[in-house]
Structure formats: structure tokens, C-alpha cells
């Protein structure tokens, strides 16, 4: 049994991706915006975690839900910080080209601080003496 005839592949189908089309100049500002927002959201979470650990009254004030406790406020505000900073930075940067390497380095620093501040042996250092 013979196979059905297939249309011959065009040169555009088989050519390496870089050759067939020229790069389209899209500004990298929107990418920078979401990167920085991720770092900001993580850092805000870490600050709230450490602050709530250091001050019981502040921790209690974040307990928007009795069932979830202070974690409710910490995570709500971290997500708000992520979304609001993303929207704001996107509005400012959407048509701009920025130095993505610098933005990435800043993001990594913010993320590192976020990870440190949410690491329990670290934030428990800020607990008041009993």
C-alpha cells in the first residue's frame, strides 16, 4: 500500500529558525515589569513575615481571617504588591527598552531577600524574648 502523497516541505518550514525571519523589535519593558514585580512581591512577603514575627500586635492585625490567622494578611498584601507593582511598572515601561541584565540582577537580589525572609530559622531570630 502506498502512502498518501505529502506536500513537499517549503524552505521556510525546514530552515533554522534564525534564518527565516528577522527578529522583531519588541520592547523588553513589559518583561522588566513582571520581573521586578515578582521581586517586589517576594520582598513584601518577607518584610511582613519578619515584621509579624517581631511584633505580635502587627501579626494579629494581619489576621483578616480568624481561621487562617496572620498568614491571610501576609499573603494578601504580598499578592497586592505583586499585582500593583506589575501594573504600575508595566504602564511606565511598556514601550521602553531597558537593560535586562541589570533588571534581572535586581530581581535576583529581591528574590534572595524574599527567600531569606520567609526562611523560618531566619525570621524566628526576630521573635521577642519570652
Amino acid at each position: 500500500m502506498s502512502e498518501p502523497a505529502r506536500p513537499a516541505a517549503t524552505s521556510a518550514d525546514t530552515a533554522p529558525a534564525t534564518v527565516a525571519r528577522e527578529a522583531i523589535d519588541q520592547p523588553n519593558g513589559p518583561v522588566a515589569a513582571v520581573l521586578l514585580a515578582t521581586g517586589i512581591g517576594s520582598l513584601v512577603l518577607a518584610i511582613l513575615v519578619v515584621w509579624a514575627q517581631a511584633s505580635e500586635s502587627f501579626g494579629t492585625s494581619l489576621a483578616y481571617s480568624d481561621r487562617v490567622g496572620p498568614l491571610s494578611g501576609k499573603t494578601i498584601w504580598a499578592v497586592v504588591a505583586f499585582l500593583v507593582s506589575w501594573a504600575g511598572l508595566h504602564a511606565v515601561l511598556r514601550r521602553r527598552d531597558v537593560n535586562l541584565r541589570t533588571v534581572w540582577l535586581v530581581t535576583l537580589v529581591l528574590l534572595a531577600l524574599g527567600l531569606l525572609g520567609t526562611f523560618s530559622p531566619f525570621f524566628e531570630l526576630f521573635a521577642p524574648e519570652e
Binding site: A12, V31, L35, S42, L45, V68, K74, T118, S120
Partner: protein, 170 residues
């Protein structure tokens, strides 16, 4: 042989969403890794990019869903102020209190970084679309964010599994 409502939601949180998350991660990582000019043809870019955007979008959505279900549905049962709650049981014994003070305290907070990382990876893939292959620094950043999201989720997932083994939500 039946599950309580709490066990059912713990299963949704840990196994169902976690399992789907793993599948989405594997597909997304393969997509990011192989999206290089020397590996794919022009026609292949279109198909792979579509799969990549879908995979990263699914992973971002699953990560948000996992942390929301974990924090707002399962966690309140864990921390109930009654002697039978997992938290109370762990803290009542000096041999197990570290599972709360170290493991749960770390897990419940760090997990929320994962969906932000996954969202950023998805946004980069969706923004450049089929042109991501021509923006290799952005592809590498997105892949790093994607792997970071997985690593953070894995920390939370493994700690959650170990805590559940010590003191399950029932």
C-alpha cells in the same frame, strides 16, 4: 474505605494539583530548554511555542490554585486551636515541635513565592511568543524563573508531605 472531607481537600492540594503541576513543569521545561535556533525549524517554532505558552500558563494557574487551596482550605484545619489539630499535636511533643516551628512555618510562607515566579515565566513566554527563540537572554531568564518556581514548590511540597506523615489533617 472512604475519605473525610478534610482528607479529600488535602488530597486535592497535595496530590491532584501537585501531580498536574509536575506534568506541566516537565513539559514547560522541555519546551524552554529546546527552544533554540539550532534545535528547531521555523515551522517547529510555532508548534513548540504554542505548547510552551500553554504549559507555562497551566503551571502558573496550578501553582496559584495550590497555594490558595492550601492556605484557605487545608491550613485552617491544620492550625485549629484544639488539642487534636495537627499543629497542637506537633507542638505538644518536644520531639516533633520542629515539624511546626521549622517545617510548617517555612512551607506556609515560602510557597507563595512560587506562583509569582511561575507567572513571570508564563508572561515572558506569552509576551514574546514565537519570537522568544530570538530573545535568548529572555528565554534563559524565563527558564530560570520556571525552575525556581518548581524548586520553591518542591520545598513546600516535600515539607507538606513529611508534616502530613507526622500529623495528618483528618
Amino acid at each position: 474505605m472512604e475519605l473525610t472531607s478534610r482528607e479529600f481537600w488535602a488530597l486535592i492540594h497535595g496530590i491532584l494539583l501537585g501531580g498536574a503541576f509536575l506534568v506541566a513543569f516537565t513539559g514547560g521545561l522541555a519546551g524552554f530548554y529546546s527552544l533554540r535556533p539550532e534545535y528547531v525549524t521555523e515551522a517547529g517554532v510555532v508548534e513548540r511555542t504554542r505548547r510552551l505558552v500553554l504549559g507555562t500558563g497551566a503551571m502558573a494557574a496550578l501553582t496559584w490554585l495550590t497555594v490558595v487551596v492550601g492556605t484557605w482550605i487545608v491550613y485552617p484545619w491544620y492550625r485549629e486551636d484544639i488539642p487534636e489539630s495537627p499543629r497542637s499535636q506537633l507542638l505538644a511533643n518536644p520531639d516533633t515541635d520542629g515539624w511546626h516551628t521549622f517545617a510548617m512555618e517555612w512551607k506556609e510562607h515560602v510557597a507563595w513565592i512560587a506562583p509569582m515566579l511561575a507567572t513571570a515565566a508564563f508572561v515572558i513566554a506569552a509576551y514574546y511568543g514565537r519570537d522568544l527563540i530570538r530573545h535568548q537572554p529572555a528565554r534563559r531568564i524565563a527558564m530560570t524563573l520556571f525552575v525556581g518556581a518548581f524548586a520553591v514548590a518542591a520545598i513546600a511540597g516535600v515539607l507538606g508531605a513529611l508534616i502530613t506523615k507526622k500529623a495528618p489533617v483528618t
